[in-house]
């Protein structure tokens, strides 16, 4: 036994050479178990079949466009290596893909079932979109048609909206999932009313980053309602299930956050302005008829400049607004203005300044023909006070020139 003992390192080095040179690059199919995504970004797992298992490692720099799940059958390409410190041989994977599309579907169904059981999709958790929406956060790819289409839609419908855009990786696997989750968290601190996460259509593998627990958790912990708008109408992802609202497409999401369009509001403004104008004119006209009951024809013509100017102001303001309105609305407005020009603008309370009074009942002005009964409580409004009175008796008198509204005299 003159043999010389060798060190563990030396032996391991020998094994390493043997395995790495003797076997080298491999293409292996197996089922994934104990999959761990370390915080460093490296992935560790075991590949197995019914008889054997082998350790695997995939460094963070290796692209992976889906999220491996335990139980999934995958094909990996890599080199056999030895991890000296643990005397362990393993596959250093450069690439990994699901063995068949069926595995992705299965992984999707499993995750959906698990999250469903944990209450991620409960209707009670879903929040309605707030009203009004002033600021919207968008997480999607900075390249491609999706962000452009959404911004175009928002701009066309309601450009007063503010958009906070977080360019996000939305293609493929883990990196994208983590970036989407980070984007949701970041937008939660940006004082937005709603967050849209989305991307355009693609293969199940392309959309896979929206089918992960990381994204589900980020949406669930968002304190701001999230709209998920992934793919086309027919693509449904975990993200769609967890989100408060699912939009069929990114453009549909852009429409959801602009429920009231600029056009709607402009038309409502015009309608309100028209109503106000008509109401004021009607009210003035009613008051004017009342006032003519108190004054004769000549007095009616001695309207103060001040009062004329006020009624003119009604016309001015409505005309000015009409000028900025659309042509169609403007034409309508001009007709209204013509009709209003007929108003002679008599300040209804002007007679009070000349010593006349207005009779009111329950806050409403009475005109000359309002029926009154003995015993009715009335208020007599004079220039500086209101007299509470009760009707004793009513005596009919011969019609005077006052009731002919002064329109007959020159």
């Amino acid at each position: 036994m003159a043999e010389q003992a060798i060190s563990v390192s030396l032996l391991t080095g020998e094994i390493k050479r043997l395995l790495e040179n003797g076997i080298g690059e491999v293409l292996v199919v197996g089922e994934i178990s104990n999959y761990k995504l370390h915080s460093s970004g490296h992935r560790y797992f075991t590949l197995k079949d019914s008889e054997a298992s082998i350790s695997g490692v995939m460094w963070r720099t290796r692209p992976l466009n889906f999220v491996p799940q335990d139980g999934m059958r995958v094909v990996v390409r890599g080199r056999l290596t030895v991890y000296n410190a643990q005397g362990k041989y393993q596959i250093d994977c450069v690439a990994m893909r699901p063995e068949g599309i069926g595995d992705l579907h299965q992984a999707f169904e499993e995750l959906k079932q698990r999250l469903g059981a944990q209450g991620y999709f409960d209707a009670g958790r879903k929040r309605p979109l707030p009203r009004p929406i002033r600021r919207v956060g968008i997480a999607t790819s900075p390249t491609g048609a999706v962000i452009r289409d959404m911004l175009t839609t928002i701009e066309r419908r309601f450009p007063s909206l503010e958009v906070v855009f977080r360019p996000t990786i939305v293609q493929g696997g883990e990196h994208a999932s983590r970036d989407i989750a980070a984007a949701i968290e970041q937008l939660n601190r940006c004082d937005v009313d709603v967050i849209i996460v989305g991307r355009g259509g693609g293969s199940l593998e392309d959309l896979w980053c929206f089918n992960t627990q990381v994204v589900a958790d980020a949406i669930r912990s968002s304190s701001i309602p999230v709209i998920s708008a992934v793919g086309h109408e027919t693509d449904v992802t975990i993200s769609d299930w967890v989100a408060d609202v699912r939009a069929a497409t990114p453009t549909a999401a852009a429409e959801m956050v602009t429920p009231v369009t600029r056009q709607d509001l402009l038309m409502a403004l015009d309608a309100l302005a028209r109503e106000m104008t008509n109401d004021v004119r009607r009210n003035i006209s009613v008051m004017q008829q009342l006032a003519t009951a108190f004054v004769d024809g000549r007095a009616a013509r001695r309207i103060t400049e001040r009062i004329l100017m006020r009624a003119q102001r009604v016309d001015d303001l409505s005309t000015r607004l009409a000028r900025s309105a659309s042509n169609r609305l403007q034409r309508e407005r001009i007709r209204v203005d013509h009709a209003a020009a007929l108003l002679t603008s008599l300040h209804p309370l002007a007679p009070l300044q000349r010593g006349y009074a207005v009779i009111e009942r329950n806050g409403h002005v009475l005109n000359a023909t309002t029926p009154l009964q003995p015993g009715d409580k009335i208020d007599i409004r004079r220039q500086n006070d209101v007299v509470q009175a009760t009707v004793d008796a009513i005596t009919n008198v011969e019609s005077t020139k006052g009731t002919s509204h002064g329109k007959d005299k020159g």
């Binding site: 958009v163 855009f165 940006c190 309100l272 106000m276 004021v280």
Partner: protein, 72 residues
């Protein structure tokens, strides 16, 4: 977020709400006519202001950089 600073003291929603209040008051028509004219002036100014705001609005987009850029 400096871009979002609001110049107007009142938001569009607040102005629209006030405008609707005024329209309701004028529709009821029981306020003294002086007050009605005041309301009317306020309402027309609000309507013109909102209209100008909406017509001049331009989409504001603020782009964030990812906080922890993930290297693919």
């Amino acid at each position: 977020m400096a871009k979002t600073k609001d110049e107007a003291p009142k938001s569009l929603e607040e102005q629209l709400k006030r405008l609707e209040e005024i329209a309701t008051l004028l529709d009821r028509g029981d306020a003294p006519i002086d007050q009605q004219l005041q309301l009317f002036e306020e309402g027309m100014a609000l309507a013109a202001g909102c209209r100008a705001y909406l017509e001049q609005a331009e989409l504001k987009v603020q782009t964030l950089s990812g906080e922890n850029p993930v290297i693919p």
